[in-house]
C-alpha cells in the first residue's frame, strides 16, 4: 500500500501552491505538470517521495528556456525539483492588522508597499518569463523599492514574506484525502455543488452516524459523490485491497447516481463496484418483481454461454448483467436492513426520512445534512411525532482557525460563513402502550 504514503505513478494527488490554492493532478509517468506562474515539473522526478513532501522548482540554466520559438513564449518551462526542508508559507493571512506594531515606528507605514514600487508589472512579468527564481525577483524589487529602507524591521520582513510567496516556485504533493478534495472544491467556488458542507460538519456526521468498516449504509448524496468519498475513506482508508466488507447503498433521484467526484479517488473500479451500490428512489420504493425479472430473462448454463458466438455473447452478457442488477435491487430494497441512514439531499426531508428510516435497524443513527437549519427544523418537527425516532436534534459545528504565529496569535479576521447543519436521531422500535392496571384503591 505504498500509494497511501508515497507518491506513485498514475495516482491522483493534490498539489498545494504558494498562493494557497490547490490543484488536482493525475501523475502520468513521463509527462510534465505545469503550475503556471509557479513553474512546471516532470512527474518522474517526484515519484517515490513521501506524500506530503514539499518541492522547489529550480532552473539550472536560466537562459535556456528563453528560446526564440514564439510558440514557447507563454509555455511554462519545465524545471528540476529539489526537496524543501523548511516549510514555507504557514498560516498567516493576507489581511493586515493596523494596530499590531508599536505606534512609535509606525508613522511612515501608511500605504507603503503598493504605492512606492518602482518596478512596473510588465518588468515583473518579464522577469517571471525569464524564469528567474522567486528569491531573485524579490531581490530586484527591493533594489527598485525606494522606501524599503524606511520600513521597520518587522514590516520589512512582512513585505519580503508576502513578495516571496507571490513569486516563489514551490509546491507540496499531498494525498488526495476527502478533506482536501472538499477544500479544493470550496476554493474553486463550488460551494453550492457540495451544499455548502464544511469539513467539520461532515466530520461530525461520520462520527454520529457511527461509520465503521463493516457497516451497510443507506445514503443519499447530492454533493456529487463527496459524501460517499468521505465515507469510503473513513471505512477503508484508500486501501484497494481492504478486507473490510462495508457497503454504501446510494439512492438517487435522477436516472443515474451522480458520484462524479469519485473519479479523483484512487479506488479501483472493481473496488467501487464492490462497495458502492446505486439504486434509484423509484426502484427502492417500487422494486422490480422477482418473477417478472425471471420472465424477461433466464441465465443459461455457463458452459452453453461460453460457446455463444461473439455478437451473441455480448448481447447475452449485457442481459445477464441486467438480470443480476435487477435481483440486486430487489435484495437492497426489500431484504436489507441498514446500519445508518445518511442523507445530504435537497429533496424535502420531512417526506423522505420517515420512509427511508423503515429500512434502518433499531438503535442505529439517522443523520441528515442540510445547508439550512430551517429545513432540519421542519424535519425534526415531523420526526418528533413519529415514535420510531429517538430524540431528534439539530447540531451546528464550526471551526475557527487562528493565525498561529507566536506573538501574533489571533483568530483569522475573516472566514467562510456557512458550513451546514446536522439532524441526528436514532431509529427505535416503539412498544405498544401497556394496558392500564386495574386501580387498586
Amino acid at each position: 500500500m505504498d500509494y497511501l504514503h508515497h507518491i506513485t505513478a498514475d495516482q491522483h494527488v493534490i498539489l498545494k501552491l504558494p498562493s494557497g490554492n490547490w490543484k488536482i493532478v493525475e501523475l502520468k509517468p513521463h509527462t510534465s505538470v505545469s503550475l503556471g506562474k509557479f513553474g512546471a515539473f516532470q512527474v518522474d522526478d517526484i515519484i517515490g517521495y513521501p506524500l506530503g513532501t514539499q518541492f522547489e522548482i529550480y532552473y539550472e540554466n536560466q537562459s535556456q528556456p528563453n528560446d526564440d520559438d514564439p510558440k514557447n513564449k507563454n509555455r511554462t518551462p519545465v524545471g528540476k525539483v529539489r526537496i524543501m526542508d523548511e516549510d514555507v508559507g504557514g498560516s498567516t493571512e493576507g489581511s493586515e492588522l493596523s494596530n499590531v506594531n508599536s505606534s512609535a515606528n509606525n508613522m511612515n507605514l501608511i500605504n507603503i508597499g503598493n504605492e512606492i514600487q518602482a518596478m512596473t508589472s510588465e518588468q515583473i512579468e518579464e522577469l517571471k518569463r525569464q524564469s528567474i527564481s522567486g528569491e531573485e525577483i524579490v531581490a530586484k524589487m527591493i533594489e527598485s523599492h525606494s522606501a524599503f529602507h524606511k520600513k521597520t524591521l518587522q514590516s520589512q520582513e512582512k513585505y519580503l514574506n508576502r513578495k516571496k510567496r507571490k513569486f516563489a516556485k514551490y509546491f507540496t504533493v499531498e494525498y488526495l484525502s476527502a478533506s482536501f478534495l472538499l477544500q479544493w472544491l470550496l476554493e474553486k467556488g463550488d460551494t453550492q455543488k457540495v451544499l455548502d458542507m464544511s469539513e467539520e460538519t461532515v466530520a461530525m456526521l461520520l462520527n454520529v452516524a457511527n461509520i465503521r468498516s463493516e457497516g451497510q449504509y443507506l445514503c443519499m448524496d447530492e454533493t456529487g459523490g463527496l459524501l460517499v468519498y468521505f465515507m469510503l475513506e473513513r471505512m477503508f482508508g484508500g486501501d484497494n485491497n481492504s478486507s473490510h466488507t462495508g457497503k454504501i447503498v446510494v439512492l438517487h433521484e435522477n436516472e443515474h447516481a451522480n458520484l462524479d467526484l469519485l473519479k479523483y479517488s484512487n479506488y479501483s473500479e472493481k473496488f467501487i463496484n464492490d462497495h458502492v451500490k446505486t439504486v434509484s428512489l423509484l426502484d427502492f420504493f417500487e422494486p422490480p418483481n422477482e418473477s417478472e425479472i425471471d420472465s424477461y430473462f433466464k441465465p443459461i448454463p455457463k458452459e452453453e454461454a461460453r460457446q455463444l458466438k461473439a455478437g451473441k455473447k455480448n448481447a447475452y452478457q449485457r442481459r445477464l448483467k441486467w438480470y443480476y442488477n435487477q435481483h440486486e435491487i430487489v435484495q437492497l430494497s426489500t431484504k436489507s436492513q441498514y446500519d445508518a441512514l445518511i442523507i445530504a439531499s435537497t429533496l424535502q426531508l420531512s417526506t423522505l426520512v420517515p420512509l427511508l428510516a423503515e429500512k434502518v435497524h433499531g438503535s442505529r443513527p439517522v443523520v441528515c445534512y442540510s445547508q439550512f437549519k430551517e429545513i432540519l427544523l421542519e424535519l425534526t418537527h415531523t420526526l418528533y411525532t413519529d415514535l420510531r425516532f429517538l430524540a431528534p436534534s439539530i447540531s451546528e459545528t464550526r471551526v475557527r482557525p487562528y493565525q498561529s504565529v507566536r506573538g501574533k496569535l489571533h483568530p483569522l479576521m475573516t472566514m467562510r460563513g456557512g458550513g451546514g447543519y446536522l439532524m441526528w436521531a436514532h431509529r427505535v422500535i416503539p412498544a405498544p402502550e401497556p394496558p392500564a392496571h386495574e386501580t387498586e384503591d
Binding site: S179, D239, E396
Partner: protein, 367 residues
C-alpha cells in the same frame, strides 16, 4: 455475551450479558449489563431486564407504574462511542464529539491509521478512535485511571487498543517488556513497534512530550499531531516546541458546537390583539358613559362629593384569542404556531484549543 464480539460492533438482539445503554433522556443515559435477574430502576418506574432480552436493540420498553398507573418507558440502545460519551457523568473531563470528530478527520483517521493518544482520561475518545483506526496506543499516567481503563477496554472488547501506564512527558512513548502495559509482545522483541501516523496529546504540558515523539512515529510518512489545551498560553508553548522539533503546517483552531432544539412560538396576529383591545374599549366606553353621567350629576349637585360616590367597575373581559392567563401547551392545536429553533440554555463555549502540526521524518525516495 460472546466475549469475542465487542458490544460496540453492530448487534441486533438484546442478549443476556450484553452491555447496553438505557436511554431515559438525552441527559440521562445509563449503561447496564443485561442480567435476567435484575431490574433497572428509575424514578419513573422499574424495568425488568427480562423484558428486554430477545427484543431488538432500539426497542422501547414500556410499563405502567404500579403506584400511579402512569405510562412510563425507556429505550434500550446498543452502545456507540458517541452514545457512550453522552452516558458519561457530566463532571468527567471528556473530549466532546464535535472536537473528537474534527480531530479524527484532520488526522485522516481510518483503518490504515496507527494512533497515539495521551492521556486516556475517561476513555471516551479512545472508543471513537478504536472504532475507526487500525491500532490505538493509549497512555495514561494516573494509576487508578489506568486500571479502570484497562478493565473497561477489556470488557468493551477493544482488541486494537494497547494501553500503557506511563507519564509520557518524562518517560516517552516507547513500550518495553516489563512496562505496565496491555501490549502483547511477539517472540522476544525487546520493545513494541509503534510507527504511529497520528498523535493526539491531551496533556497539561504537551511541550514536554512533543520532543519524545520521534522515537515512535512512522519515519517515512507524513504524520499528524493534535495537542488539546484549554489555555492560550499552553498553545504558545506548544507551538514553540513543535517548531523546535521540526513540525510544520502548524495551525491552531477552536471548535464550536451548538445543539438546537425545535420549538414552536404562538402566532399572535395584530388583528387578534386589536379585537381583544376592542373588547376592552367596549367595556371602558360603557364606563366613560357612566362616569360622564356621574360627572354631570356631580357638577350639577353642588353638595355631592365626587370622591365618595362609587366608581363603577367594568366587568372583566372574557375574550382572549391567545389564551393568556390559562397556560397554553406549546403546539396546542387550537392555536396557530410558528416553528422556531432554540439553542441550549447553556452552551459549551470553549472546550480547548486544538493545535495541529505535521512532520515527515525521512523524506528519502523509495523505488
Amino acid at each position: 455475551m460472546d466475549s469475542s464480539v465487542s458490544p460496540f460492533s453492530y448487534r441486533d438482539i438484546i442478549q443476556e450479558g450484553d452491555l447496553a445503554l438505557v436511554w431515559i433522556s438525552r441527559d440521562n443515559i445509563k449503561p447496564i449489563i443485561v442480567d435476567a435477574n435484575h431490574m433497572f430502576n428509575t424514578r419513573y418506574g422499574s424495568f425488568s431486564h427480562k423484558s428486554m432480552i430477545g427484543k431488538p436493540y432500539g426497542s422501547q420498553i414500556a410499563i405502567r407504574t404500579k403506584g400511579q398507573n402512569r405510562f412510563s418507558f425507556i429505550h434500550v440502545m446498543q452502545p456507540s462511542p458517541e452514545l457512550w460519551t453522552l452516558s458519561l457523568p457530566h463532571r468527567t473531563q471528556i473530549v466532546y464529539t464535535p472536537d473528537s470528530s474534527y480531530i479524527m478527520q484532520r488526522l485522516n483517521c481510518n483503518p490504515c491509521s496507527t494512533v497515539i493518544e495521551a492521556g486516556t482520561g475517561s476513555g471516551s475518545f479512545s472508543h471513537a478512535f478504536a472504532r475507526t483506526v487500525g491500532h490505538l496506543y493509549s497512555y495514561e499516567f494516573h494509576s487508578v485511571r489506568y486500571e479502570q481503563a484497562l478493565k473497561e477496554f477489556k470488557d468493551h472488547g477493544l482488541p486494537n487498543v494497547t494501553l500503557t501506564h506511563r507519564d509520557v512527558c518524562s518517560d516517552g512513548f516507547t513500550i518495553k517488556r516489563n512496562d505496565p502495559t496491555s501490549y502483547l509482545f511477539q517472540d522476544d522483541a525487546a520493545q513494541a513497534t509503534i510507527n504511529a501516523n497520528a498523535v493526539f496529546l491531551d496533556l497539561p504540558a504537551p511541550w514536554d512530550a512533543v520532543p519524545l515523539l520521534d522515537q515512535v512515529i512512522a519515519r517515512d510518512q507524513k504524520v499528524g499531531v493534535c495537542c488539546f489545551s484549554p489555555c492560550i498560553e499552553q498553545v504558545d508553548k506548544t507551538i514553540e516546541a513543535l517548531e523546535k522539533c521540526g513540525w510544520t503546517e502548524i495551525q491552531m483552531v477552536e471548535i464550536q458546537g451548538k445543539q438546537w432544539e425545535s420549538r414552536r412560538q404562538m402566532v399572535r396576529t395584530l388583528d387578534d390583539a386589536l379585537e381583544r383591545l376592542r373588547d376592552v374599549r367596549r367595556r371602558k366606553e360603557e364606563g366613560i358613559e357612566r362616569r360622564k353621567q356621574m360627572y354631570d350629576a356631580v357638577l350639577k349637585d353642588d353638595e355631592a362629593d365626587g370622591e365618595k360616590s362609587e366608581r363603577p367597575q367594568p366587568p372583566k373581559t372574557k375574550f382572549n384569542p391567545f389564551g393568556k392567563g390559562t397556560r397554553v401547551r406549546e403546539g396546542d392545536v387550537n392555536y396557530q404556531w410558528k416553528q422556531v429553533t432554540k439553542v441550549e440554555p447553556e452552551i459549551k463555549s470553549h472546550t480547548s484549543f486544538l493545535t495541529f502540526a505535521f512532520k515527515i521524518m525521512d523524506k528519502s525516495r523509495i523505488c
